[in-house]
Subunit: 515 residues, 2 copies
């Protein structure tokens, strides 16, 4: 075993110091903006009760939940195993009884010497076929009971968090008496999904969510736009689009064509406009049972053009007297108004009527963020949902939230070369010593640097200077102080800028003042 | 289900905003000190291959590893299930064959009309008992194969991290070609243990580890003491003891009494001095096979008194000509010398010859940290281990490391009331509006505050001021700005200090200057 190179489970990753520095830059930036807008951090356990998670993500989602095996002798208490084992025991007991019975009959026959062989033959046949039948039944039970689907809930009562939303809903219901509403929380933790791993899709990845529950104000929606704008701008992105839509507008469109029940079909189709074009959308709408007349009414709505204000004007006309549709327009308008009152955005804010995003959740605003000029999916999304905590029995609590896709943001910043040169908060200066004497000389300086909050290291003596310099280079330490006989005598330290190669002689005080 | 109050799995915890603020204070402080000493952060996946973890923590440890159920149809590929199922099928086939055979014999008997009934009887008996035998064998197989111990490796190939040390060793071996040695890494991540939960012992908890591999210099040991000292002082602790020992000294003691092989017995016994006193230790040593003569030699070593320097003098005498023991003394002395050259400690540094701490790992220095005056176990520990990566096939790489017990530090700071008043980095000021007009007036101010990096919130309009003030109180927001008609007309804002109750009138600029 020792010779096999160790590895990590597929779909999971190690993060090196360089990667961690970049990831921390992303997380710290997002967290600081969340805090600035009044969101507070919580954490929930990595494991939730399986019953908390199942049934919340659809059948496909349920399959992707990682289950944790119960500790101890998990099979001991598995009902299905017990059941089959019990049937096997019955089988043996039954066989023994049959054996006994048949022996009796045989003995009786032997005593009577072949009185009625036909009867014996029948009894024998029945006995054997009962036994064979039972054996076949046990195999049937084995196949029926000992399935993964049956066994899983018997040997696993916990599962790894699949997202941050359901645990948050659980948290709010569980702690409702300790919480001051509106409750603005953010959460940055890993989630796990048993998805097939592929480029950019991992089995463990971080989610960064901010949600508010208990406040219907559209100021929250406006602030989510501001949060996206501020956080992504701080991360260095200059060209990105925040798309906004409203579920009520989509309901309005369905109302206009009198197809309230087909809203899912409608939105699934128009959501694809980007990918399959207008022709494709029309084809799909026809397949999904919409009429040519419906499509005539929908088309101008899908093809809305112009500024957000122009779109809203056209939309109001097209929505006619759909009350819910017009309410959606008013909501969007109010959000725009709030944003305008606050500050100009760095992002492009775009009303996109084709935006649906897992519509089932959302009841009001829907958000999605894209980095322009990079071939990558959305880097953020969210919306308002009126019944988040209903699944845990707490009704009528409205919520809204957004999420940042940290892994994709990482890839975008990497591709656009936007990471600052020094995301790394690590060592700023390395002291290199020629010998043990120099090391002893250097220790007070080392501690003086640290006392002044300079991240400093001393390379332990007894190593060639070349190797010490390599260490500084590999670790991207910007400055190196060299200490040899001359430096000890003069008290003038040689400090080298590793980037420029420049070297100067400074006193200890001057060195400290540099940082 | 909806009416059942949701909960978290036993031994796991939710962390509220107030708790997170305190936890972040601890983690951020420790991380900043790790960084100051040149340690860089890495992260490893929560799940490791089961084979990476098993056999590393002893049999008891292995039982406490949380295993993750394979996704998909995990039973389908379980060899034990297949085996038993196959045997069941064999059983049926065998029964059918026996049935056939017996029928033939019966038919033959029928034709010959009772020629040799004794023979038929024997054949029948054999056939039946073969069948019963097979059934009993299947039950045996069922019991033998379908055990938790057998099945676990067939249905689970991944497990949750049990500590940070083994994943780190795996990381070093896996990435050895990308790493610059000495490699100084820190890691702050949760670990999971299927321990019986109890006060202060959780199934999910964070570890904060710093380790260096590839550097034998005792400067590392000295810096670990400095890291403990600086981090715990920064956290507000003023009375704590850093205990240090050296495995080589323990080996020396064993050598003095010619019991090299009994070093574990020896250290397990003397490690208990604190708890069971000298009498208890002597009793235990006798039970473990040490002679009265041995104990006479050991006693003065166990009872070492005085300053660290005095202890070292006595120790050298007692260790006589034990080469390894004297080397241990020299190492400790060098560590003390390094520390003295750097700076005076806030902590008490104590040479404690009875300190052993999972001795099997350590080959040199051993550390343990205790908060004095608080009835709680150690809040940190570590040491040097000469063969960390050997378990993954990379031999001869020396390492040393320490760990902070974050949960215990939390409890200590709570008990001693040492958390700073504002660990919380959340909202600094809340703007309260009497109506929608005031809200509109307040938005530019809100954004101005945020532009100046003030964490600020506006309570959405339409709520009674009393409720808005309650919100500020519950969230411990230190300042509240009230905006009503008067404020809008005069431009003078009322700002209230929520702690003191003091209220003043300031312009927007003056408000911003306050923060």
């Amino acid at each position: 075993m020792a010779s096999i190179k160790p590895s990590v489970p597929k779909g999971t990753r190690d993060f090196s110091p360089a990667e961690m520095a970049k990831r921390n830059f992303i997380f710290d930036t997002i967290k600081s903006v969340f805090r600035k807008y009044g969101y507070q951090q919580i954490e929930t356990p990595s494991m939730e009760n399986l019953s908390t998670l199942t049934g919340k993500y659809g059948d496909e989602g349920d399959k992707l939940i990682f289950k944790v095996l119960d500790s101890g002798d998990f099979l001991e208490k598995a009902a299905s195993i017990k059941k089959v084992q019990g049937e096997l025991l019955n089988l043996v007991n039954q066989a023994l009884a049959t054996d006994e019975l048949l022996k009796e009959h045989l003995n009786a026959f032997k005593v009577q010497k072949g009185d009625d062989f036909e009867e014996l033959y029948e009894i024998f046949k029945d006995g054997m076929s009962t036994m064979i039948n039972s054996e076949e039944q046990v195999i049937g039970l084995f196949k029926t009971y000992l399935t993964s689907k049956n066994i899983v809930s018997e040997i696993s009562e916990k599962a790894l968090r699949y997202d941050l939303t359901v645990p948050f809903a659980r948290y709010v219901v569980q702690h409702q008496n300790e919480i001051t509403f509106p409750f603005k929380r953010f959460q940055v933790q890993p989630v796990w999904r048993a998805d097939r791993p592929q480029k950019g899709r991992y089995r463990e990845f971080y989610q960064c969510d901010a949600d508010v529950v208990g406040s219907p104000s559209l100021l929250n929606e406006a602030e989510f736009v501001l949060i996206y704008d501020e956080a992504l701008s701080k991360l260095g992105l200059s060209d990105f689009t925040i798309k906004i839509n409203n579920r009520k507008i989509l309901s309005g469109i369905a109302q206009v064509i009198n197809k309230h029940d087909s809203i899912i079909d409608l939105t699934v189709a128009i959501d694809k406009l980007d990918k399959i074009g207008l022709e494709g959308v029309i084809k799909e709408l026809l397949e999904r049972g919409f009429t040519e007349a419906d499509i005539e009414k929908i088309k101008p709505i899908i093809l809305l053009q112009g500024t957000n204000e122009e779109k809203l004007v056209s939309l109001r006309q097209a929505l006619g007297n759909s009350e819910i549709g017009l309410l959606g327009c008013a909501e969007i308008e109010k959000v725009f108004e709030y944003i305008a009152a606050c500050k100009p955005l760095g992002a492009i804010l775009e009303l996109d009527i084709t935006l649906a995003r897992g519509l089932n959740y959302y009841t009001g605003a829907i958000f999605e963020v894209k980095a322009n000029g990079v071939a990558i999916g959305s880097i953020g999304g969210g919306g308002r949902y009126d019944d988040l905590t209903g699944m845990f029995g707490l009704k009528g609590l409205t919520g809204a939230g957004i999420s940042f896709g940290a892994d994709r943001i990482y890839d975008v910043l990497e591709e656009l070369n936007l990471f600052p040169a020094s995301t790394d908060q690590s060592t700023q200066v390395l002291i290199c010593c020629f010998d043990a004497e120099a090391e002893a000389f250097a220790l007070p300086l080392l501690q003086q640097l640290r006392a002044n909050n300079v991240n400093a290291e001393l390379y332990p003596a007894g190593t060639k200077i070349k190797k010490q310099m390599d260490y500084a280079n590999n670790k991207q330490i910007p400055f190196v102080i060299l200490i040899g006989t001359e430096e000890m005598q003069s008290g003038q330290l040689s400090i080298k800028n590793m980037q420029s190669g420049e070297q100067e002689k400074l006193t200890a005080e001057q060195v400290i003042a540099k940082f």
